[in-house]
């Protein structure tokens, strides 16, 4: 367990020292959402209607932006190869990195989401469900994204390729994430959607970790 | 003659049925031709490379 903590601690210390990276992710998130009123028009009724979907899509894209560097930085300077040679399971290396990624990008997105909900005139009863849905959904995004990041290790034009691989796999999280908020706005129970989001997370936890570790093992050979 | 046109009309749905069949024909034909051309190109390249391999000086 303390090897997991060692990797997580190092990544968090790196993120804090290079704090600007997670700030940029949040900045992109805010900017992406702010663009919509200009595109769709400032009319509050329309904005409220599309708010859940817009916030979710922007969160998804923001999370994906920071995923390309998840393993790339350590791959380039040889750290990843050395970590693979330490007596620590690759799976826990992946989990530590996913946890670090979520803490440095997923959490800031959740903190920024209410501000954007206000900007998009989202009715206040949707806030709680939005935060809960993001809390359940963003770790899954990091997990699925980790598989993509491991697959594109050392590939040409990795960033574009990552979006082609990962965005289709994000669709289920997006569907049920946005649906949960819309259900709560429409007075329907959001519980079923949130339960499915939780199920996706529980499924992604072992599967994505195993797949990402496998992809890393192939990549390091 | 009108029986043919009447048949082709497909009960008014010609605009949906024939494009479906046409597209299928095009896609499968293009895929087949591309695959066959890829094979002949590879075979030609192999012949060229093996010719270089056999020539004593090793250069073409």
């Amino acid at each position: 367990m303390n090897r997991f903590a060692a990797i997580l601690g190092r990544d968090l210390r790196l993120a804090v020292r290079q704090g600007v990276d997670s700030l940029m992710v949040v900045a992109f998130f805010v900017l992406a959402v702010v663009l919509f009123p200009f595109g769709v028009g400032p009319e509050p009724g329309v904005l409220a209607r599309i708010a859940p979907g817009v916030i979710w899509v922007a969160a998804l894209l923001a999370a994906m932006l920071s995923l390309e560097r998840l393993f790339q930085a350590d791959h380039e300077d040889g750290s990843l190869e050395l970590m693979a040679l330490e007596p620590v399971a690759l799976e826990s290396v992946v989990l530590a990195k996913v946890a670090a990624h979520w803490l440095t990008t997923g959490l800031p997105l959740i903190v920024a989401a209410p501000l954007l909900a206000i900007l998009l005139n989202l009715p206040v009863e949707g806030f709680a469900v939005l935060l809960l849905a993001l809390l359940l959904g963003t770790p899954t995004l990091s997990l699925i994204g980790a598989v993509g990041a491991a697959l594109i290790l050392g590939a040409r034009r990795g960033g574009v390729l990552l979006s082609l691989l990962v965005l289709p796999l994000f669709i289920p999280v997006l569907i049920f994430g946005a649906a949960a908020v819309e259900a709560s706005l429409g007075g329907f129970p959001a519980r079923p959607h949130l339960l499915i989001l939780a199920a996706l997370l529980l499924a992604a936890l072992p599967l994505c970790t195993w797949a990402a570790a496998g992809a890393l093992r192939q990549g390091l050979e | 003659m009108d029986r043919v046109t009447e048949y082709l009309a497909m009960g008014g749905y010609a605009g949906f049925i024939w494009p479906a069949y046409g597209l299928a024909a095009v896609v499968l034909a293009v895929l087949f031709v591309a695959s066959r051309r890829r094979l002949t190109a590879a075979a030609a390249e192999l012949a060229a490379v093996e010719a270089v391999e056999r020539s004593p000086s090793g250069e073409a």
Partner: protein
């Protein structure tokens, strides 16, 4: 029965047969120096020995048992120094080395142990300096300091002396001698003369096809 041996090893990188039929044997306290031109497979062999890649053919055994049976145990008994020196610019030298030591030992090491390892390569004074200010030679010393901080049985060194000055080279030789005295083993690839006394030589230039590369017992003068 030798502790670490490879029989009939074959390696394929990408689509290239790098070598085949390669054999070697190492006992406690011994050193094996890999010679050969660039691209002859020295690094590939070291990566095979480290378990980073699976050999396309042949077996690697430790105390008689194939290392493929228990890869974790094999990883726990070796340290690999490759071409790259993984040093995070944002972390200080001590933090970098402490991370690798903690990963290896499974617990946080005392700062004194970390600084002692850095002193083995005369860079103890750089402990608090962030990695971005170090020269290539200093980065390589931090990387080699990992050998001093984590006691293991097998060292796999890929051209360890690149970017090292004479003094650092001397520290490395002293460290290797002490390691071998404790019964440790070293496999190193190098171009310049590493000067390990009683080291065995494995030249990877022998044509791969002609019956493979057997280790020729040439003892390098002290």
């Amino acid at each position: 029965m030798s502790r670490f041996a490879g029989t009939d090893l074959a390696c394929i990188r990408g689509e290239r047969l790098v070598f085949q039929g390669l054999g070697f044997a190492l006992d406690a306290g011994q050193a094996l120096v890999l010679g050969g031109a660039n691209g002859s497979g020295k690094s590939s062999l070291l990566r095979l020995l480290a378990g980073l890649a699976r050999p396309a053919g042949g077996t690697l055994s430790w105390d008689g048992a194939s290392i493929a049976d228990d890869p974790d145990a094999h990883r726990a008994r070796l340290l690999y120094v490759g071409h790259a020196d993984p040093l995070k610019p944002a972390l200080t030298v001590a933090e970098n080395l402490a991370f690798w030591a903690a990963l290896r030992a499974g617990r946080r090491l005392a700062d004194s142990a970390v600084v002692a390892a850095l002193d083995a390569f005369a860079i103890g004074r750089l402990a608090g300096v962030p990695g971005r200010y170090l020269s290539a030679g200093q980065r390589r010393r931090v990387n080699l300091a990992r050998l001093a901080v984590s006691p293991v049985a097998l060292w796999l060194l890929d051209e360890p002396t690149t970017a090292l000055d004479a003094a650092a080279g001397e520290s490395l030789r002293a460290l290797i001698a002490a390691h071998r005295a404790r019964g440790g083993m070293v496999v190193a690839s190098t171009h310049s003369e590493l000067g390990l006394d009683g080291a065995r030589q494995l030249n990877l230039d022998a044509p791969a096809a002609a019956g493979g590369i057997k280790e020729n017992h040439v003892s390098v003068p002290a």
